[in-house]
Point group: C2
Chain length 357, copies 2
């Protein structure tokens, strides 16, 4: 990246979010500081000052680029979204989001309660132009590298227009955060078969718009569940119900496989010896198979990244890196441009077509 | 199983279905003959007589319990369901299904084209009393043993009543084929959260009926994607779109993991040596993680099991064993009894409730 693109980025962190709070979130900020070399990072840490300062005291490199924003209000992990919206004002999560609107932060990161994070983010930041619903975009390791699946659970149903919007947002996100220079970023629609006539109405309608809707992206066609891990496309678009089930199913199978492998490699003296010899290779494999620890909530006027609530510091650092890359990118402009192309195409098509609404 | 339950079962096999035809289907029948000890199996093999006889010639134990039913008509793997129904009469797949209606067979097994198998089975066998739609029931290995997921793709949408029917059929199937004596068979509804108010309307409505609908089964509540591999419940109920995506996502992740493991264990001389030492344990793990090779199409007046089209002979034998166990069980009576209970409860509830239709 040329130096002219170098930016000073301020990230507002919900230091209390997630299962572990400051020991993980502050440590994660320190790791991210070392990992994001392309930009100058600064952090706002929102939460209990004493707990945060205790962590900062041991981190002299991090201290100078941090401001601490005290609050003793925290949204609980089990709190319902509606309740969190009612009583959440002034909480560490709320303040971290609010800082991206009015407090000089370029992006927010929280490992807190997903429902509360979505509801409060939507309330404070509002949807960006023309977009109906936010979408959670989860990144997965695949045979070919990394793919992004959205919506991973921000919604429970999605019509054709929303699926198309997810495609636009997901492609712009992939380009901003994961794509290598010159990489073709292909978008696939999740379905139960690859033939044109297969699947639900909204999926087939979305496919028609993605093919002919004047949008600037590489639409691949329908994909199926096993295409996620194959890496057939870089961006997989589906409704939030299916996406959430697929994501959790995949995570569950991966954990099951890992547990069985551990069991197999400690089941006999021979296999234990074998595991010892292969330890380096197996550790590299485990690292490669671990999904990045952050999923952005796309579609808002601002960058919000959900960190894995149970994740370790390096996982929280993933989320910070995604937030920084997204904030420094042309994601918002690219999404807006494609939304304009889509609106223009749909408006032009309206008199001639009854299938596109 | 007491001897009084011993039955003579005739299985009609689509010998031409799947990627390999008789070399796999006939070999699979031989393996199943050794594996199903509780019943006396006989086979009708439908397909090309010469190809089938060539395989039988090498299998003297199988030969006496087989009759060959020649046809040179085969439904192609890529043939559309509607076309298969139009021109499929007299094909090996058609004849195998027809034999369960009028040809003295107790159950049919085919590794052919799933769409064609479903359409032809439905046409020939019709839905069993009170059931709206067939469902494919896939069996998965889990941390705790085995679980069944349905619908794995026979439908693309399902309303609340259909989800409840899937629960009834799935539980009866699990009891017939997988349950140990005395095992509690729990049924879960797939959702995106475990709280009552979460998820799509049809899922919440189905939950209400399963809780209070007078059905004789152990309803656990909502489950999420990662509960599949955990084995939280024995039977997972979902619509065919979500089920198909979840199943294929899980298969894809398992294959990806296996490929990465192979890669890791051949990446260095040390890891290769380690893999050699651990080979026995790793082979046992692989066998344990392989899903059974057959998924019944439930809900019809007859037993039809879809074998994995690309599977090997032992996988085809799994499908035959499932067909035999199902045919010998009280699955049909149990399903019918629960459907009667459901109808009675819904009829009684009708004047008082508007949510149950």
């Amino acid at each position: 990246m040329p130096d002219s693109n170098r930016r000073s980025l301020t990230l507002s962190i919900d230091a209390m979010g997630g299962d572990h709070g400051p020991p993980v979130t502050v440590a994660g900020a320190e790791i991210a500081l070392g990992r994001v070399a392309a930009h100058d990072l600064r952090f706002q840490l929102h939460g209990d000052e004493a707990a945060i300062e205790a962590e900062l005291a041991r981190r002299p490199k991090l201290r100078p680029v941090v401001t601490v924003h005290h609050t003793d209000k925290v949204i609980g992990g089990e709190e319902k979204a509606a309740q969190a919206v009612r009583r959440g004002k002034g909480s560490s999560l709320w303040n971290a989001i609010e800082a991206t609107r009015s407090g000089g932060a370029d992006a927010a990161v929280s490992g807190g309660n997903t429902g509360a994070l979505m509801a409060i983010s939507k309330l404070i930041l509002r949807m960006a132009g023309g977009l109906d619903r936010p979408a959670l975009a989860a990144s997965w390791p695949t045979l070919r590298g990394i793919s992004v699946l959205l919506d991973a659970g921000a919604n429970i149903e999605s019509d054709a227009a929303q699926l198309v919007q997810f495609a636009i947002m997901g492609e712009a996100f992939y380009c901003a955060v994961h794509a290598e220079p010159g990489q073709t970023v292909r978008v696939g629609l999740m379905n139960v078969g690859s033939e044109d006539e297969k699947g639900r109405d909204e999926v087939r309608e979305a496919a028609a718009i993605l093919k002919d809707g004047g949008i600037d992206l590489h639409y691949h066609g329908f994909v199926e569940g096993d295409d996620i891990a194959k890496g057939t496309v870089e961006v997989i678009v589906t409704d939030g119900f299916t996406g959430n089930v697929a994501l959790k199913t995949g995570e569950g199978v991966a954990r099951f496989f890992a547990a069985e492998l551990r069991e197999a490699l400690t089941s006999t003296p021979l296999s234990t010896a074998g595991a010892l010899l292969a330890k380096g290779a197996l550790d590299r494999m485990r690292a490669r198979l671990e999904p990045p620890g952050g999923a952005p909530l796309l579609g808002l006027n601002g960058v919000v990244v959900k960190a894995h609530g149970g994740g370790a510091a390096h996982s929280f650092a993933d989320a910070i890196k995604i937030a920084a890359d997204l904030a420094a990118s042309d994601y918002a402009a690219k999404t807006a441009a494609n939304m304009q192309r889509l609106t223009a195409a749909l408006t032009a098509a309206e008199p001639a077509s009854e299938t596109i609404q």
